[in-house]
């Protein structure tokens, strides 16, 4: 390869990269507002599902933990929503945990997960998630792991269920310590 060929190669590749960069920035500008909007709507929907009586959802931070403070019509805080990340069977599971003033679980929702479809993905169903409602940290064990536990694991998806249960309990313990 002589010097001229080498130089042409550099010019061509630089030109193509620049062109592609320009095109992508254009596409980004068109699509990003929509993508952000969809994300926000989804987030709000989950918050509202956990606290149907909540009116205002305000992002706050307490000792380095981010949470969403839920206000009712009279601007009183009726609970908090925390986001937890935990390692499941097929990757990270992102949970949203709503906790009311008495440190009881108000509701939990799975925001994102990559568990096995048909098995682990059943952790997103209400049949599993509704078991958490009203429980305190001493109840949150799988029935098969601890005699005090009050949560039934999803059939065939013990690892996914356990990881959800453990992460919710750890969250409750962490908040209690800080109070």
């Amino acid at each position: 390869m002589n010097k001229k060929e080498f130089f042409i190669g550099i010019v061509v590749i630089t030109f193509i990269c620049a062109l592609s960069g320009y095109l992508l920035s254009y596409i980004y500008k068109i699509t990003m507002p929509r993508i952000e909007k969809i994300k926000k709507i989804k987030e709000n929907k989950i918050n509202k599902e956990i606290f149907p009586e909540g009116v205002n959802f305000i992002e706050k931070e307490m000792d380095g933990i981010k949470y969403i403070s839920v206000l009712n019509l009279n601007d009183e805080e009726i609970g908090k929503i925390f986001e937890v990340k935990t390692l499941g069977y097929g990757g990270y599971i992102y949970l949203k945990v709503g906790i009311d003033k008495d440190m009881k679980i108000k509701g939990i929702k799975i925001k994102e997960h990559s568990e096995t479809p048909g098995l682990g993905s059943k952790i997103t169903e209400n049949k599993f998630l509704d078991q958490f409602t009203g429980k305190t940290k001493d109840d949150i064990y799988l029935k098969k792991d601890n005699p005090n536990g009050k949560i039934d694991a999803v059939t065939g998806a013990t690892i996914s269920s356990r990881s959800v249960v453990e992460s919710v309990r750890k969250l409750l313990e962490k908040i209690k310590e800080e109070k």
Binding site: I16, S20, L24, I27, Y28, I30, R34, I35, G118
Partner: protein, 202 residues
């Protein structure tokens, strides 16, 4: 002599040199997203778009790209198309985007696309390259559609998310899991071989 527009190129990708059944490239997304028909179709359409677009651009610039930088140039072109697709699907079809997950950006490293860029578009004119992209893309979509139909109906009792086999149907869980995809692909490849063989004898 090669014709300027050769429609055989189009049919080639759909049946004879089908990317999944004959070239056997790009099997990873086929295994991964063929669990439901909707996702499979989303993936297929994304692949058609990226394949046709990158074939078009690459055959357009094939004469000005020196051969020693061709692979990085191809990858940049492919990555551009994939990113465009990724953003568009995220903005307009969020549910499909969520289900396809990481496999959408991974089209960049899908061997069919680089394979066709290197093996076809960089040696043929623009029209034939577009036809090749469309044909290969459709061939891919068709097969992933067939595989996902089998897997969704047998493994989940649904088609396009709607239950069709009734509530007392007990699904084959294995069909929804990765082994199911291997089974169906294997059977389809065998079927194609059988048909080809019969053709030869006749």
């Amino acid at each position: 002599m090669k014709k300027i527009i050769d429609f055989k190129v189009f049919l080639n990708g759909i049946w004879k040199e089908n990317p999944i059944l004959f070239i056997m490239l790009g099997l990873c997304p086929v295994l991964a997203v063929s669990g439901s028909v909707k996702d499979a179709l989303g993936m297929g359409i994304a692949v058609i778009f990226v394949l046709t677009g990158s074939n078009f651009v690459i055959s357009l610039i094939r004469k000005i790209v020196p051969s020693h930088v061709r692979i990085p140039v191809f990858i940049v072109v492919i990555a551009t198309f994939v990113t465009i697709t990724d953003y568009t699907i995220a903005a307009f079809f969020p549910q499909i985007h969520k289900n396809l997950g990481v496999y959408l950006p991974l089209i960049v490293v899908n061997c069919i696309i680089l394979g066709r860029a290197e093996g076809f578009a960089s040696k043929n004119n623009v029209f034939n390259s577009i036809l090749d992209g469309l044909g290969m893309g459709l061939g891919f979509t068709l097969i992933i559609f067939v595989i996902s139909s089998f897997r969704e109906i047998l493994g989940n009792g649904t088609f396009m998310g709607k239950p069709i086999l009734g509530s007392n149907y007990n699904p084959f869980l294995i069909m929804i899991m990765p082994p199911g995809a291997f089974l169906v692909i294997g059977l389809l490849i065998a079927l194609k071989q059988k048909i080809e063989k019969r053709k030869k004898i006749c």
